[in-house]
């Protein structure tokens, strides 16, 4: 690959507001420079890796993430507190425990029908499903061939972006049932069952590491936390 494409690839990713996939990059280059151009997805991957090394070496405040099947520039987490103060991200509400739970089930068992989902969760899930559809974190992908032909739900690229995953196979592996069965944790509370407990803890950690002395923002964040929606 010609070296000038390093810079072209960098510019393309930088100018895109959504993760840019390798086929999109190749397509743009071939459209401009002709179909004979021999650039490959591997070239792009290599370029991105080189760019990230260059950013690191020069202390550049952002990096290229590989998420949602593509590449996108993002600030390094180090400055999250400053950026968070200015950006609207701060007001973006986190997902509720119900939404996270529903998402987890769809993510791991997709495509999944509503009856299947509800039988695992044990509760009616219309509301959370609607919220997730609305946020474009899940989508409808046809129907199951089972009785009643219920609609099938799958996760979206927006889901991958939201959780910083490159592809579905990068999800952390759930423990096998046998593993959970053997596990004495069940009694030891290492794993918290209640999300609220986890949430407080995470928020605490986040606050400690990020917002050491700033009380104002701390209370703001707590409020934020209380406002989580489904």
């Amino acid at each position: 690959m010609d070296n000038i494409y390093n810079s072209v690839i960098e510019a393309l990713i930088f100018a895109s507001d959504d993760p840019l996939t390798p086929p999109e990059i190749i397509n743009a280059i071939k459209e401009i420079d002709g179909p004979d151009n021999e650039i490959t997805e591997d070239d792009i991957e290599k370029t991105v890796d080189e760019l990230n090394i260059k950013y690191d070496q020069n202390g550049i405040a952002f990096t290229i993430l590989k998420i949602a099947h593509g590449y996108i520039h993002a600030t390094k987490p180090d400055h999250a507190k400053y950026v968070g103060y200015l950006s609207t991200e701060k007001t973006k509400r986190r997902l509720s425990p119900a939404s996270l739970e529903t998402l987890a089930m769809i993510a791991y068992k997709q495509p999944l029908t509503k009856p299947e989902l509800e039988s695992i969760r044990g509760v009616n899930s219309d509301y959370t499903l609607n919220t997730l559809l609305e946020k474009n974190l899940v989508t409808i992908a046809g129907r199951a061939e089972t009785v009643g032909r219920p609609l099938l739900y799958i996760t979206t690229d927006e889901f991958l972006k939201y959780f910083g995953l490159k592809q579905i196979s990068d999800l952390p592996k759930p423990r096998e049932i046998e593993e959970i069965m053997k596990d004495e944790d069940f009694l030891e509370q290492k794993r918290r069952i209640m999300m609220s407990g986890v949430e407080e803890k995470a928020e605490e950690e986040e606050l400690q590491s990020e917002l050491e002395q700033n009380n104002e923002i701390e209370s703001e964040l707590k409020e934020d936390n209380e406002n989580t929606i489904e």
Binding site: A15, I32, A98, R175, I180, M181
Partner: protein, 239 residues
């Protein structure tokens, strides 16, 4: 009695897991009667409040009751000749639920981590060269498409009221002089005759106003004419 806040539970399975954990009970040997008691107490809080959610809980209550009854009966035997634990189905459901519940906690941390990344905010100023490559830009677009698009823009655009401010190239004073000069030798002129040379509407209006001004000032007078729709303007001496 233990204080319970509803929003901490995502459903009956979650609630059961909570009871098991809180009281450090063995999931493989669930004390059904004790759990059922706890569950019913909680259900009592719920039942008047929301039928839909309570519905899920009532179903679980019924299941628990059924298991309790089956515990009293002689154990069923499966094909392998082994005793079937009436609680087995429930345990399986609890474990399956717990499995994904755990992952939702992972999701929670992934979400928190991902929120620390901020994406680029402003793309407006990126130089974009879009006009040089007509092949790309105008792919599949014909002249017909072009006029269609043009027409659409015209149709969709609500007609904006135009407030055009035009400076009059004519003043009342000028027209007062004009009227005086037109009086001529007879010191009078018909209105239609006065106006006949004036081409612009604005000039006619201004002249009419000038005429009224002069009448008011007493420099001219107006009297009937024998022609229809006309009148005579005459000069007043010493105005």
């Amino acid at each position: 009695m233990y204080k319970i806040r509803l929003q901490e539970f995502e459903g009956p399975l979650d609630l059961l897991l909570f009871f098991l954990r809180r009281d450090e009970l063995d999931i493989y040997d669930i004390p059904i009667s004790r759990i059922t008691k706890e569950f019913m107490e909680y259900l009592h809080l719920l039942e008047q409040l929301d039928l839909e959610v309570a519905g899920d809980f009532i179903l679980m209550a019924a299941t628990l009751m059924q298991i309790k009854v089956r515990m009293l009966l002689p154990r069923e035997i499966d094909e392998k000749g082994e005793e079937v634990d009436p609680r087995a189905e429930l345990v399986k459901a609890l474990l399956e639920y717990k499995r994904y519940k755990e992952m939702s906690e992972e999701f929670f941390f992934m979400e928190a981590n991902q929120r620390k990344f901020n994406y680029r905010g402003n793309f407006d100023e990126d130089p974009k060269q879009t006009t040089t490559d007509y092949g790309v830009l105008l792919k599949n677009i014909t002249i017909y498409d072009l006029i269609k698009a043009f027409k659409k823009v015209l149709l969709d655009k609500p007609a904006e009221p135009v407030h055009q401010i035009k400076k009059w190239n004519i003043t009342i004073d000028e027209q007062m002089e004009y009227i005086s000069s037109k009086l001529g030798d007879n010191n009078q002129i018909g209105f239609l005759e006065l106006m006949i040379d004036l081409r612009e509407k604005i000039k006619i209006v201004v002249t009419f106003i000038a005429m009224l001004e002069m009448v008011k000032a007493g420099t001219i007078g107006i009297r009937e004419s024998n022609k229809i729709n006309d009148f005579i303007i005459y000069g007043l001496a010493n105005g």
